[in-house]
Amino acid sequence: MFEFGPILRTLWRNKIGASLIILQSALTLAIVANATFVLQQRLQLINQPTGIDEQHLFTIDVKPLGQGLFSVGEIQRDTLELRQITGVVDASYISDKPLSGSYSQSNRNAQDDDTTFTISLNQLTTDPHGLHTLGVALEQGRFFNDSDMVRDLKEGKVVVISRGVADAAFGEGVNPIGQQITTFGLPPTGKHKQALKDSQLFTVVGVAADANITSVASVNDGVIFLPFYQPDKSVTYLIRCQPSQCNQLMLAVPQKLKQLDNHRIITGVSTVMSNKDELLRADHTMVVMMMAAIVLVSSITGLGVIGLTLIWVNRRRWQIGVRRALGATRMGIVRYFLMENLLVTSIGLCFGVILTLGLNQLLVEYYQMQALPLSYLLLGMACVWLLGLSAAFVPALRTTTISPAVATRSI
C-alpha cells in the first residue's frame, strides 16, 4: 500500500541527493526548535505585567544651575503645581526612574540561630503621592502622609514595604503592620537583634501590592518605600497622566517647571514605556531575529524541497508514464512522491533530534541558555514535517499531468 520497498530502493540509488535533504531537514529542525524556544522565552519576558500603570507614566529630570541642592520647599512646590495641571492624574517625587534599570539594591544575609536569612530588595524614596502615581495598589495599612516626610533619614520613623518584602522579612501570614524593620529589610528578631542594635529601625505602616517597579523582571523580594527627600543635585518627578494626555503633558510640564523657577535645566523627559523598551531592547531584537531565522530557514528548505522534487519528477517522467500505463492511478503517483518525502524528512528528523539537542547543549554551556523542553522539540518536528510535505505537494501534483503515453516514447 505505501510502497516503502520501491521508495527505499529508489532513494538508495540516489544516496547523495537523499542524504543532502536528510541533513538539511535535520539542521532545519535544529534551528527551528532552538529559535522557537528562545523566541518564546523572550516574549514571555516582554509581555510580563509589571504591575504599574506604565502606559500613562513619564518622568522628568530637573537639575538646578549652580552648586545648591534641591530644597524640600522647591520639591513640594513643584509637585503641588504639577498636580494642578489638567490631564495630570498625580505627580510625585521619586528617587529612581521606574523600569529604567537604574536603582539601588541591597542584598543582606543575616544569621539566625542556625538558619541563614537572605533578603534582597530595592530602596525607593518617594513622597505621599508616590504609590498612587505609580498606580500600585495598597494592600494593607496606609501610605505616607506629609508629616512622615523627612530630609534626613535618621529622623524617619515609618516605611511601607511591598508584599514580597513583608513575606520574606516576617514570614507569610504574619501581619507586618506595626512591625520593626531596617531600610535593608531586616527585622530585629532572633540573634541579629543584638547585631542590629545600632541600626535604625522603622515601623511598617503599610503594605503595597507586588510590582516590578525598578526593573522588568523581578530579581529580588520587592521594594521598600522610604518617606525621604534625598538631598541631591538633581531631582526626578514622576507624572501619571490621563489616557492620551501624556504627549501634550510632556511639553506642558517642562514649561511649567521653567516658569516656576528658571534657574535650572531639564536634563531629560522620558516615558516609562520608552525606558522599558530600552531595557528590553536586546529582547525585542532577539524576538525579531529569531522570527527571521525561522522564516528564512523554512523558506530556504521549503524552496529546496520544491526544486529537488521538481527535478526528481522530471527525471522520472518515463517511469511514471510506465506505471500509469500499467494501471497506477494519479493519486497513487502523488502519494508515492509524498510518501517518499515523508520518509526522507522522517530520517532527517531522527538525526535532527540529535543535532537540536547538541546545539542546545552548546548554547546552554557557553551562553547561559536554558535546556530545551521536549514540547519544543516535538513542535519543531511537526513543523518540519508539515513544511516538507507542503513543499513536496506542488511538484507532486504535477505528476498528474504526465500521460501514460510517455511510456511509449524513449526519453
Binding site: I31, L65, N107, L310
Partner: protein
C-alpha cells in the same frame, strides 16, 4: 578557454532559470545573513587600543565571593571571569602612591556636571566628565594640542583645573588656544590647562562600566576630585559596597557616604596600567601580592590573592561587549549558511546530473575529465559570484534592519567596511566551490558509453 567555459555556464544558467535563480538566491541569503551577524560582531569587538594591546592592562583583584556568607554578593558587578569589574579606592590609591612600579597608571571614574561659560549665552547642558589621574593621556596615547597635563599635586588634592578635548574646544572656544581660559562646572570656575586630541574609541574600551559605548568623554578632571566632600552628588556610574560586620549601615548623609566609600570595600574605580615588558610585570605583580597580603591581614580582603591583568582585547571580551545574544544569533546564522550550502549542493547535483548525457557525449568526442570537471565547477562558481553580489545587497538590507533594532550607539558604528564586503564575496565563492565540487567530480566521471548507448 576560461571565457568559453564562462559562456557555456551562462547559457546553462539561462537554460534552467528557475533552478539557477533558486541556487543563486539560496547562496545569497545564506551569505547575507551570516555576514550581517559577523559584521555586528566585527564592529562590536573593534579594539580602538589595538596598537597598545601588548602594553596596557586593566587590573582586577580577586576579592569578591566571600564564602563565609556574611554579605550578599549577587549584586557584585562582575565580569565574566567572576572578578569585580572595578577596584576599591584603597587599592587604587596605594598603586598611584607608588609610581615607580609602572611607567604609567591611570585610575578613573565618571562625574556629571552642568557646563556653562562665564559671561556667555551658551545654553547650559549636562556633561559627563572623566575624572582620572594625570598618566591617562600618556597611557592611552592621547596627544596634547595646547598646554599640558595637570600637576601631580592635582591628583591628590582638590584643584580647579580641567583638560578638554578638541571637539569641546571648538564648541566653546572656536578652536583657539584656550589654555588659561575658564569654564564653569555647576557654577564653579575651572581653569583650562590643556587641550587634547579627541579620544573616542568605539567601543569605549578604556571604560566599559557604562555600556559598550558609554565611556568616552570630552572633559577630563584630576583624580583629586575624590576629595570633594559631596562627591556622590556628582558621581555617575556603578558603585557596589560589601560589608561584613553586622550592624554596619551605609550612611545616608552625602559627606559620610563619601568617607564610607573611600574607607570600605566599595568597588567603583576603573584602573589601567602600562607594563611594557615581563620584568616590569613581574615586579608589579609582586608589589600587588604584597599589598594584598597586608590588606588581608588587617581584614580588608578575605580571599586568597588572585588578580587578572587584561589587554584591551581581553577586556572587551571579559565585559561581554559582544553580547551572548549576538553570539547565539551568529551561531544560528552560520548553521543557516550550512543549510543554504547543502541546499545548493543538492540543487547543483540535480541540475548537473540532468546534463550528464551532454557531458557523456563530450567525453566521447574527446574532452578530458579535467575539462568537464573545470567546466562544471566554473558554472557553480559563476552562480557563487552572482550569489555573493546579491548577498552584498541583501546584507546591507540586513544591516539596515539591525540598525533599527539596535541601540543608537551601536547602530551608529554598524557599517560594513571593505574587509567585510570582500569576505562576503569570498564566502559566497567558497560556498559555491564547496557546493559544486562533488557534483563536478561526479559528472566528470560520466561514462561516455552509457549515454551514447541510450541515444
Amino acid at each position: 578557454m576560461f571565457t568559453y567555459y564562462l559562456q557555456l555556464a551562462w547559457r546553462s544558467i539561462r537554460r534552467a532559470p528557475i533552478i539557477s535563480s533558486l541556487m543563486i538566491l539560496t547562496l545569497a541569503v545564506g551569505v547575507a545573513v551570516s555576514m550581517t551577524m559577523l559584521t555586528l560582531q566585527h564592529v562590536m569587538s573593534n579594539n580602538g587600543l589595538a596598537e597598545r594591546n601588548s602594553q596596557i592592562f586593566a587590573l582586577q583583584l580577586n576579592n569578591t565571593g566571600n564564602k563565609t556568607g556574611a554579605s550578599g554578593d549577587q549584586s557584585q558587578d562582575t565580569s565574566s571571569n567572576v572578578m569585580p569589574r572595578s577596584l576599591t579606592y584603597r587599592t587604587v590609591n596605594t598603586l598611584l602612591d607608588n609610581p615607580e612600579i609602572a611607567p604609567h597608571q591611570a585610575a578613573m571614574f565618571s562625574m556629571h556636571y552642568v557646563l556653562t561659560l562665564p559671561d556667555s549665552d551658551l545654553s547650559p547642558a549636562e556633561e559627563l566628565i572623566r575624572a582620572t589621574s594625570r598618566d591617562f593621556f600618556a597611557l592611552f596615547g592621547v596627544p596634547f594640542i595646547y598646554g599640558e597635563v595637570w600637576s601631580a599635586k592635582a591628583d591628590d588634592e582638590l584643584t580647579s583645573v580641567v583638560v578638554i578635548d578638541n571637539t569641546l574646544n571648538q564648541r566653546l572656544f572656536n578652536g583657539e588656544n584656550s589654555v588659561g581660559r575658564q569654564l564653569l562646572l555647576d557654577d564653579v570656575p575651572y581653569q583650562v590647562v590643556g587641550v587634547v586630541q579627541d579620544f573616542m574609541p568605539k567601543p569605549s574600551v578604556q571604560d566599559l562600566s557604562m555600556g559598550a559605548f558609554g565611556g568616552n568623554r570630552h572633559i577630563y578632571l584630576p583624580f583629586g576630585m575624590v576629595q570633594q566632600p559631596n562627591l556622590l552628588n556628582n558621581f555617575k556610574g556603578t558603585l557596589s559596597c560589601q560589608f561584613h560586620q553586622q550592624g554596619v549601615e551605609f550612611p545616608q548623609e552625602r559627606q559620610a557616604q563619601r568617607d564610607f566609600i573611600l574607607n570600605n570595600r566599595c568597588y567603583w574605580l576603573q584602573y589601567w596600567v602600562e607594563l611594557p615588558d615581563l620584568q616590569t610585570r613581574d615586579k608589579y605583580v609582586a608589589f600587588l601580592s604584597a599589598y594584598f597580603d597586608q590588606q588581608k591581614s588587617n581584614g580588608f580582603f578575605t580571599q586568597a590573592f588572585g588578580y587578572a591583568l587584561s589587554t584591551p582585547a581581553q577586556w572587551l571580551q571579559l565585559n561581554n561587549v559582544v553580547s551572548n545574544d549576538t553570539k547565539i544569533i551568529t551561531w544560528l546564522a552560520l548553521v543557516f549558511l550550512i543549510v543554504c550550502i547543502i541546499n545548493a549542493v543538492a540543487l547543483v547535483l540535480a541540475k548537473l546530473l540532468k546534463q550528464a548525457p551532454e557531458a557523456g557525449m563530450r567525453r566521447a568526442l574527446g574532452a578530458s575529465k579535467t575539462a568537464i570537471f573545470s567546466q562544471s565547477l566554473i558554472e557553480t562558481l559563476l552562480i557563487g559570484v552572482l550569489g555573493g553580489v546579491i548577498g552584498i545587497g541583501l546584507s546591507q538590507l540586513g544591516l539596515l534592519l539591525l540598525r533599527v533594532l539596535l541601540a543608537k550607539d551601536e547602530a551608529a558604528v554598524l557599517h560594513s567596511d571593505w574587509l567585510m564586503l570582500a569576505v562576503t564575496v569570498l564566502m559566497a565563492v567558497v560556498a559555491s566551490i564547496v557546493a559544486g565540487l562533488y557534483p563536478a567530480w561526479r559528472i566528470s566521471y560520466a561514462q561516455p558509453a552509457k549515454y551514447l548507448n541510450q541515444k
